[in-house]
Symmetry: C2
């Protein structure tokens, strides 16, 4: 029991073997998307789409999430009307070892984690 109510809409995710390096780089070259990834990497819990700190419109944000998901970078699932997001850290590590972690590490200083 304790079924996670609202198994409503499901989201399609690519198998890791399917995603190409080009896709991942195309996804991570955009600063907005990299900001999303950074915030996910630093978060303790999954984050809903609407609570990200980015300066684009809702529709643009949806677009970015699609790109990230289709590149295998994030996993998404619905909880009620809100959509939650997680990094597919381990899977990415298996597919492209060291890539995502290096990128997150390199992004960290940019997002103001450095001196505080």
């Amino acid at each position: 029991m304790a079924r996670p109510r609202s198994s409503s809409r499901t989201v399609e995710h690519p198998a890791m073997a399917e995603v190409s390096l080009q896709q991942v780089l195309d996804a991570l070259v955009d600063p907005v998307r990299r900001a999303v990834v950074s915030q996910l990497a630093r978060a303790d819990e999954d984050i809903s789409c609407g609570t990200f700190d980015v300066s684009v419109s809702r529709s643009t944000l949806t677009h970015h999430f699609n790109v990230l998901r289709e590149a295998g970078v994030i996993r998404q699932y619905y909880v009620g009307t809100t959509k939650m997001n997680t990094l597919r850290t381990d899977e990415m590590e298996g597919r492209f070892p060291g890539l995502l972690s290096a990128l997150v590490a390199a992004s960290a200083p940019e997002t103001g984690v450095s001196a505080r």
Copy 2:
């Protein structure tokens, strides 16, 4: 002695501290430029501009080299009329640890190194 004759034209290179992650990613997201980097990573010696195995025109190739150099990824120097290229591997490792190596490793399968 044994001065490498023709210290003629010199090339400007950015200091590593100057290059941004965005620059590096912009540089490495292009498949042609990544092919250049891969070939450099696999080469035992420095390679002249004209001997790369890419399918773009000479002028386009020049453009790609400029982008890579300005992103701090490669170092260039003239030898006579030919221009040689090297990866700034160690410096990049210092600036963005693990990034370039992860990328080269991920690119390797694409460039046909896998089964031979």
